[in-house]
């Protein structure tokens, strides 16, 4: 099976002591993998390690090619779009400029119009607000913009950092429906970091579980949600919704 992303014995640090310890997992090509864990487990750090924002050891491979030690801008140009923690909005720029920036490292600049229409198709709200300063958008709209920006790059892999955080449940539901469309229709591989494991396991085919910088479980989403021990210890909300049966 080919992999969009493989992590082999990846360790990472912010300069003072390791945060991640020999992590191993992968994202299948065209698939969605969920990276789960409690607050402070190292999920965001893992994403930052993948896109070259922190010192990383081990081997990170994008479609078989090693990207360990490359700069974030180089990794972005290789087709990794990151929807970061806090959404990374360019607040003083307009919505349209934010989307133009998403396409900054797209391989084919001629596809700009097509990508833009596609993004507006997924998120009509962004079209309505295209001339507005992105900093004035609501949280949900900024999350749409962050995902839209990622799509503009025509990425091979999208890294999503807690897209549901701080959003009303109804918005989260819409957002995940669109993410599912993107994964199935556009065939983009995704690595999804979520605290809301219930949501994440529905979207993802595979999952990995982090605990204080160590990988403690990996498998298909089904396996992880049905493992009662794991469910009780880490995925508290899964058992609440009937996964025990």
């Amino acid at each position: 099976m080919s992999h969009a992303l493989e992590l082999k014995d990846v360790s990472a640090s912010y300069g003072h002591g390791a945060i991640l310890h020999d992590i191993n997992f992968d994202v299948p090509a065209g698939g969605v993998t969920a990276l789960l864990g409690a607050n402070g487990a190292g999920k965001t750090t893992t994403l930052r390690a993948i896109c070259g924002m922190i010192e990383t050891h081990g081997d990170v491979r994008l479609f078989g090619e090693s990207i360990t030690g490359k700069t974030p801008e180089a990794i972005a140009r290789m087709g990794v779009a990151h929807v970061p923690d806090g959404r990374g909005t360019f607040t003083s720029l307009t919505v349209l400029d934010n989307l133009r920036l998403g396409a900054f490292s797209a391989k084919k600049r001629t596809n700009f119009r097509k990508s833009l229409d596609q993004v507006y198709d997924y998120f009509p709200r962004l079209k309505e607000r295209s001339g507005q300063h992105a900093g004035t958008l609501s949280g949900g709209e900024q999350q749409m913009l962050a995902i839209g920006r990622a799509l503009m790059a025509e990425p091979r892999l999208i890294l999503l950092d807690e897209p549901s955080i701080g959003l009303a449940p109804v918005i989260v539901k819409q957002l995940f429906e669109i993410l599912e469309q993107i994964a199935t229709e556009a065939g983009v591989s995704m690595l999804l970091v979520e605290q809301n494991s219930n949501l994440a396991l529905k979207l993802a085919s595979e999952a990995a579980l982090l605990e204080v910088g160590n990988l403690v479980a990996r498998g298909t989403s089904e396996e992880l949600s049905q493992n009662q021990e794991i469910a009780r210890a880490y995925l508290g909300d899964v058992s609440d919704t009937g996964a025990q049966a």
């Binding site: 896109c51 924002m53 700069t71 974030p72 801008e73 972005a76 140009r77 779009a81 990151h82 970061p84 806090g86 990374g88 909005t89 360019f90 607040t91 003083s92 720029l93 400029d97 133009r100 920036l101 998403g102 900054f104 490292s105 920006r149 790059a153």
Partner: protein
Amino acid sequence: MTFFLEQLIIGLSSGGIYAIMALALVMIYKSTGHVNLAQGEMAVFSTFIAWSLVQMGVPIWPAIFLTMAVSFVGAIVLERVVVRPFAEADDLVIVAVFVGLFLGIHSLAGAIWKYEVKPFPSAFSDGSVNLMQDLSIRIHTLGSLATTGAVLAATWFFFRYTRLGLALRAAADNHESSRLVGINVSFMLALGWGLAAGIGAVAGVMIAPVTFLDPGMGLAPLIFALAGALLGGITSPFGAALGGLIVGVLEAMISAYVPYGIEFRELIALMLILSVLLVRPAGLFGEIVTRRV
């Protein structure tokens, strides 16, 4: 009325120089959060380069464009070699670096070209035009004003409509997100310095025919440009430029109408500006910058 108009045009003309300098300050401030105290000295150094070129027989306009190009490259090298190593340093250390740059460039200009006042040729023809009865304005004044307009328009077009301009705005807005969309932020910071020096050179060659050229001429325009940038809002390029224009007009009007105005114009102008800033701390057009920690 004629006298007032004359003062207004003179004010706008020198204000235009402050506007260009203010724009140069904003370019570096927006992307790094630091005020380049050496901006005035850099512009003076550029002007000396233009002077030397003219002495060598290069016509004035080619000399100006050549100077802009040399300044652009020189500032990129300066940023890389002198400023970049201190990128992560404390603010006070960076102030010290800028003061060092100020002194270094000032001394270098003095060493090469000596501390003596030199006439600098105008890029425009001599003489003046009669705009209306009793109102004649030097062609240099009008040309300088037009040049300011051209620089502001070109800058606006560059930032608004080009891919590189967009990347520079992005880098100024959010370093991390810029890198995540594939922008080489480190290069953009250097480019900001290059552009600031390039347009700063224009300010220098426009003001030098009026004030004459000497190594000490950069300080007053820098102070006025900084005042203008603060007045208009140092986070907004065109607010800052407009602030520069306002400061120029204020300066001219105070000199013309206030008793002892010529002696105290800097002080009075600064006091007026500070009063505005008491009410609007971010300047007339600026946004209050909040930084994520």
